[in-house]
């Protein structure tokens, strides 16, 4: 079994198509929608966690690409600017996934990209603009 967090970019003409149900039915993938929005240009942006067998995952991603849905890994959209982080810990209590966490022994903050679901709760909370999410 594989697990992947990806960002899907739907072109306008696909917004009303049942794409995700195909991923579930035809490729046997478990789909967890973490975020979804329609951009002002009526394109769709989805953050998904996909779980499934390697073959299904590869075929599913190929299907998405063939119908014109662009995919990229979530990691590319989330940036922790370490140079701007002062390790104040203001973000720690709001991060639901503990992607932003603090080592209590020395009070050093770290960001674990693979845990981040791009919920953006840290954005208004960080006084130093250390978090950037291009979603």
């Amino acid at each position: 079994m594989q697990k992947k967090r990806i960002v899907l970019n739907y072109p306008q003409h696909l917004v009303d198509q049942p794409v995700l149900s195909k991923l579930v039915k035809d490729y046997d993938l478990v789909v967890n929608i973490m975020r979804a929005r329609i951009t002002p240009k009526e394109e769709g942006r989805l953050v998904l966690e996909l779980t499934g067998k390697r073959a299904g995952m590869e075929a599913g991603l190929k299907y998405l690409s063939e119908i014109g849905v662009q995919t990229q890994s979530l990691a590319q959209d989330v940036k922790w600017h370490e140079d701007r982080c002062t390790h104040c810990t203001a973000c720690i209590s709001v991060c639901p996934m503990k992607a932003l966490d603090v080592q209590r022994t020395n009070m050093e903050v770290s960001f674990k990209r693979d845990k981040c679901i791009a919920c953006e709760l840290c954005i208004p909370v960080c006084p130093y603009q250390a978090m950037e999410i291009l979603f």
């Binding site: 002062t86 104040c88 603090v102 020395n106 909370v125 006084p127």
Partner: protein
Amino acid sequence: MAKTIEEINDKIKKGKAVVLTAEEIIGYAAEKGAKKAAQEVDVVTTGTFGPMCSSGAYFNVGHTKPRIKLGGGKTYLNDVPVYTGLAAVDFFLGATAMPDDDPRNRIYPGKFAYGGAYVIEELVAGKDVRLTATAYGTDCYPRKTLETYISLKDMNEAVLFNIRNAYQNYNVAVNLSDRMIYTYMGVLQPKMGNANYCNAGQLSPLMNDPFYKTIGIGTRIFLGGGIGYVVGNGTQHNPDVKRTEGGIPKVTAGTLAVKGDLKMMSPKWLRGTSFTGYGVTLTVGIGVPIPVLNEEILRYTTVRDEEILAQVVDYSDSYPQCNPGSLGEANYRQLKSGRITVQGKEIPTAGLSSYLKAREVAQTLKEWIEAGKFFLTRPVELLPSVDSGVVLKTLKERPIKKI
């Protein structure tokens, strides 16, 4: 045996001074005993790195040709207004100042992405900023407009001058209301969803000299990565408050006013800071060296996080309405653990003052002293202490008679 500042400086000069940070002294004194530690240790270094709104800087930018009198006109650095009620080419930039066209909280909560503190950070980083001004023109200062790039090295003087920094203790902020609130203590979740604190605890300068027995006017300090001086007590300095047996204030108490040459400072230790829905502020790194003159002073420097209590205050009603009242107390060990219990409810905590960076300030100051680059000063006058009669007043409004 008691030591003097002069004896300690002599040891620093010879490279023989024993310097420990306010964290290191705790274990050292516990092992050796206070008496022996007081004999062996010469200086304890402290540190803090947190948002401090009452900060700013004054500048002299040099005379233009022909001359302009900025005083009485309008002057901006990167569109941030500065205070010009001074002579021709002097002005003061406040950390919380923001561009005239910033929407503030008209679109709530405002982002406050830029302001005086960011201008200070950029200047200290060596960057050019835009100096623009309009003036009314006089016979001796005929010019009426000015637009130029300027950097710190172009200026005659650039001085960080903060009228209230390094608060001795601070509130722990919570929100009892049922909506999210945006404060200078950060974003507070409804119904006590989180608690934010803002103090370096056992590393904090005034926690290590709670009665101001060594700190006063002229104390040389680490300020913004350079060297600065305490110029007196900060505004709202309020020494006569409830204290623990060890003398640590249980509420906000002492403050410092500080100054230093901005040209010697670093953007690492002066950071523009934005609190959503509240405004812009400057995060300042400050470290004060405590000379271990005797055993009593040594004992003060061994203060530990668990011995420092802070009050939990509701920022949805009690604080804005200026009503006294604490929901409970928490010590800094609990606050740093990530959870406190207030009125039976367990709440996640988060800091606004960086303990990691506070430690780095104390360590840097220690290294400066060990390297013989930083000497201690004897204050001209100590800060007002508990017996000074200082009382913190709220404003008693008196209606102005309408004719």
